[in-house]
Amino acid sequence: MTLANHLYRRVMRRGRLIGLMALASVPALTYWLSAYDSDASEAALLYSDILARLGFSYAIAVLILTVAILREERDAGTLPYIYMRPIGREAMALSSIGAGIAAALTLALAGWLVSLTAVLAVGAPLDTSWSGLAQYAAAGVGYAAVFVPLGYLVPRSILVGLGYIIVVESILAEVVTGLAQVSIWRIALSISADIGANQNPGEMLNSIAPGVGGGVAKLAVVLVLGFVVLTWALRRRDAL
């Protein structure tokens, strides 16, 4: 816990956090403006549609925050202070991904609270927003499991991660059925679509069927893969 707490607090710098919370809130603010004159049922439909399509701004915010978990330690030369401690590499990988998930969930909460405010402001049913929380939280967990190891392994990890989000997640996964099945954003969307009563994820889901169980199982696989890769990297790759 000491290591996870340290890593979490290190990346949660005030200035960066405010900027990333604003980025994570872009879908909610867009929804607010779009649904301002809509009636309640229309506003509820717009909620899931806008969050599904513009939610990549949240993914980018999570990317920036979670790749920094270990990358900043490496770049700043402070990694020896945590690497050279009697901590098993499995525990170090778990703490790092755990810190990444906590950071992503912080952004998820911020983005969702803004969306909740928007839902209240436009007069949509309150339960509309639960799917948004589920979507952000599930995506945050999945992205942290991918981006924390990426940050450790790749020097220009933000660029690589941006390429992944823009090219793979937002473009290719919408048209390639196989990629849609492993797209973290769509896995999260399948969970939120199953939770929300008034959801309209539309074509974004591609071939994925809505379902909490399947989505959670896929996220668990992503988490295990992220953990295995990071543990391997901590053991086998140079720490500096």
Partner: protein, 306 residues
């Protein structure tokens, strides 16, 4: 006494660049100075020993364990890295406490306090490390290393930026730790400081070991180098002429106020010199071997490696 750190046929390369080449060496309890010019491979060797970098070839064991395979050994090992890197937004006290918590020691605040006292950093311990001078950062890093009371301490240029008083304090601390049975490997390019810390040195040039042992032993082993002795006498010219025909004297240079004598064996020259002085009627004011210092030995090694 058996070696605490065993480095066996160790090489480390980065692409085509070989940073450390086939180094085999052991470090036992006490202080060992690791010397070498910039780019000699000292920092890479330290990092590989510390387990931060994987050997490209060969192996490292500390207290019988490979640190990369058994992170538990880090309970007994600490590194003070060369970089100025510290957590700039942490106070020195929180930095050292964090090190104590990660090292899983009992009573982290108490251990941190003692470590800060050891490096004389209690007063400013509440200030952020980002506002510290280089020397103060070094002391904070040393405190963080000492907080787990390690058996093996790897110190990469630990005196960088420290003021003279703090240098003396840290040198005394390292000597005490070494005399208490801990293994300290101290890299430095400030040779005079290494001389004050230890007699035992390891010299590296171009990624290879150039010499290992005490300064005197290394110097004695360098039989291809004449010993340089400066002599001030009442009549330098007459003494110089007499020395020219003395066995073992390779060269005599008359300088404005002294003689610079190159001899194959400085000890032998020292034994003969009084008799020669008496025979020539010259008084000796000063006799000084000029190249027995660590700096001159090191200079020879580096020149030899080029």
């Amino acid at each position: 006494m058996s070696d605490t750190i065993v480095v066996d046929e160790l090489s480390k390369w980065f692409g085509p660049k070989v940073a450390v080449s086939e180094v085999t060496i052991g470090f036992g309890p006490g202080v060992t100075g690791l010397l070498g010019p910039n780019g000699a491979g000292k920092t890479t060797l330290m990092r590989v020993i510390a387990g931060l970098q994987k050997p490209s070839q060969g192996s490292v064991s500390i207290l019988g364990e490979d640190p990369r395979a058994h992170p538990g050994i880090y309970q007994k090992i600490a590194l003070v890295p060369e970089d100025e890197a510290v957590y700039e937004r942490l106070s020195a006290r929180r930095f050292v406490e964090l090190a104590a918590r990660l090292a899983k020691v009992d009573d982290p605040p108490g251990r941190a306090q003692r470590a800060l006292e050891t490096v004389d950093l209690v007063g400013p311990a509440g200030r952020l490390l980002g506002g510290f001078s280089k020397g103060m950062r070094q002391r904070a890093k040393v405190a963080a290393a000492l907080v787990s009371d390690p058996d093996v301490l790897l110190l990469d240029e630990p005196l960088n930026g420290a003021d003279p008083v703090q240098r003396a304090h840290l040198i005394s601390l390292f000597k005490d730790l070494g005399s208490n049975g801990r293994t300290l490997v101290v890299s430095s390019h400030v040779l005079a400081e290494v001389e004050r810390m230890t007699e035992r040195v390891v010299a590296m040039v171009d990624g290879r070991l150039a010499a290992v042992g005490s300064v005197a032993d290394i110097r004695s082993a360098m039989t291809d180098r004449p010993r340089l002795v400066f002599i001030e006498a009442t009549d330098n010219r007459r003494l110089g002429a007499a020395l020219m025909s003395t066995e073992g004297v390779i060269g005599v240079h008359i300088e404005p106020s002294r003689l610079r004598v190159e001899a194959s064996d400085a000890g032998d020259l020292a034994k003969r010199l009084p008799a020669i002085a008496v025979a020539t009627g010259v008084g000796l004011n000063r006799v000084e071997p000029a190249d027995e210092s660590l700096e001159s030995v090191f200079r020879y090694l580096v020149e030899g490696g080029e």
